[in-house]
């Protein structure tokens, strides 16, 4: 079992399709530097057994990640995290992000979090993820 499988956790009560949970967690791991470009993803069967899900679910997640350009499959070798360059055009990337931001804004409204506090939170979270990435980067360098 590779270390990477420990990054993933499935919550059947989240209401989010299981394969999407895997997709989002791989993307989060790549964004935070917990997984870096060129690193191998766990192979399908051991990860399926580890997470107690059907291999179809993991295969579907990997296919989705590949179509989003997050990972690539090398025949006979497995799946690897790709360097961060989305194949999508900049306006498409912005549009996808805007949808996510809008959802967070709607959620903030219903949770009665006013705009300035919301913006502070966004800055805070950017900082947290940046910090994680730097910590992961320095770890990698020490290992090298």
């Amino acid at each position: 079992m590779t270390d990477a499988s420990m990054l993933f956790q499935i919550n059947f009560k989240s209401g989010k399709p299981v394969y999407l949970q895997v997709v989002d967690q791989v993307k989060a791991a790549a964004a935070s530097g917990a997984m870096h470009a060129g690193e191998a993803l766990p192979s399908i069967r051991p990860l399926a057994e580890e997470l107690r899900v059907n291999r179809n679910t993991i295969a579907k997640a990997y296919t989705e990640l590949e179509s989003q350009g997050v990972i690539e499959t090398l025949p006979g070798k497995g799946c690897f995290v790709r360097p961060n360059n989305s194949p999508l055009k900049k306006d498409v990337r912005r549009k996808l992000l805007i949808e996510e931001i809008d959802q967070a804004i709607v959620q903030a409204h219903h949770l009665q979090v006013p705009a300035p506090e919301f913006l502070d939170l966004v800055r805070e979270r950017l900082g947290v993820i940046d910090e994680k990435r730097r910590a992961n980067d320095s770890k990698t360098k020490v290992e090298l």
């Binding site: 499935i10 059947f12 009560k13 989240s14 209401g15 989010k16 399709p17 299981v18 394969y19 069967r45 399926a48 057994e49 997470l51 107690r52 899900v53 059907n54 291999r55 179809n56 679910t57 295969a59 219903h110």
Partner: protein, 305 residues
């Protein structure tokens, strides 16, 4: 009967299936389609009609009404071809008591066109089954393990499992069904189909792609597992004081206890959430029901999920 695409027939196609034992009807007008490569659950209480349905697929019972097809073939007319395309593990398994595990596997392999020795060795190791052990000295759990090994070694395109984990130690059974299905689907997953009946649903939570719930021989619900979990949600709200009136629109179940309100919804979570939010609750949370909870709330709508 015609499949959507005649070149790739469904692994299992059941249309209007009814079966009666004497006067009692065990299965009533059941419809169900299993696409190749999927892991399909047939959920029901004991006596719901699961075993009867499976026996109709194997030509162990002839349908009173309706049709069943396995890869487009009629089990009554093409019995040999149907039986070559599947492996069936019944709810209680028996082996010749004087044979050892090794002899039992060799004997069963002699009926099959192919037999994957590496899967066999791998699973014997993982289950710590001793090939020299006599079948009559095996525990119930070990007999089930042996039956499952002998079902997947021929690598048939369809695996029919009737209550494969019932009667087993609760600690081991969950891991072991995962191991068996994982090994079976490891090669050529698009052609490895599982049709499994159970009333112990929590063990199959992550394995099931799609399911049908039956009760008294009738279908109550048939859904994709992810779709089911996103439709069935439990919403919990706590108010500052006990709410006087509560208009929640369509709810599957509502339970009130003082300041707390719990609602189970089927498909309209955002509407019910909106109505609760308008009453300014102190807390408002939502989570999906598990497949087992969906089963319970479907079979017994009054019961708390």
């Amino acid at each position: 009967m015609s499949a959507n695409n005649p070149s790739t027939p469904a692994a299992i196609e059941i249309r209007g299936l009814s079966y009666s034992y004497g006067r009692g009807e065990a299965v009533h007008e059941l419809n169900l389609t299993v696409t190749p490569g999927r892991c399909y659950g047939l959920f029901g209480r004991n006596g719901a009609g699961k075993t009867t349905t499976m026996k109709c697929l194997l030509n162990l019972l002839r349908p009173s009404k309706g049709e069943v097809r396995v890869f487009g073939l009629d089990p009554a007319k093409q019995e040999v071809a149907v039986k070559k395309s599947l492996a069936y593990v019944p709810d209680s398994v028996a082996f010749y008591p004087w044979m050892t595990v090794r002899e039992t596997l060799d004997y069963l392999a002699s009926f099959r066109d192919r037999w994957n020795r590496s899967i066999e060795g791998d699973l014997l190791d993982r289950f710590r089954l001793d090939p020299k052990q006599k079948a009559n000295a095996l525990s119930k759990g070990q007999r089930t393990q042996l039956a499952l090994i002998s079902a997947i070694c021929p690598e048939p395109p369809l695996l029919v499992l009737d209550e494969p984990t019932s009667g087993l130690d609760p600690i081991v059974r969950r891991e072991f069904i995962q191991t068996v299905i994982g090994a079976y689907q490891d090669a050529d997953p698009g052609k490895r189909t599982v049709f499994v009946s159970t009333h112990l649903i929590s063990e199959f939570e992550g394995l099931i792609d799609e399911f049908t719930i039956i009760d008294n021989g009738r279908e109550l619900l048939a859904l994709d597992a992810d779709a089911a979990r996103s439709r069935y949600q439990r919403i919990s709200a706590r108010f500052a004081s006990e709410p006087a009136t509560l208009d929640l629109g369509v709810a599957h179940m509502v339970r009130r206890s003082g300041r707390d309100v719990e609602v189970v919804v089927n498909g309209n979570a955002s509407d019910v959430m909106g109505r609760l939010r308008a009453l300014a609750p102190e807390t408002l949370t939502t989570e999906s029901l598990t497949l087992e909870e969906i089963f319970v709330t479907t079979v017994q709508p009054g019961a708390a999920a």
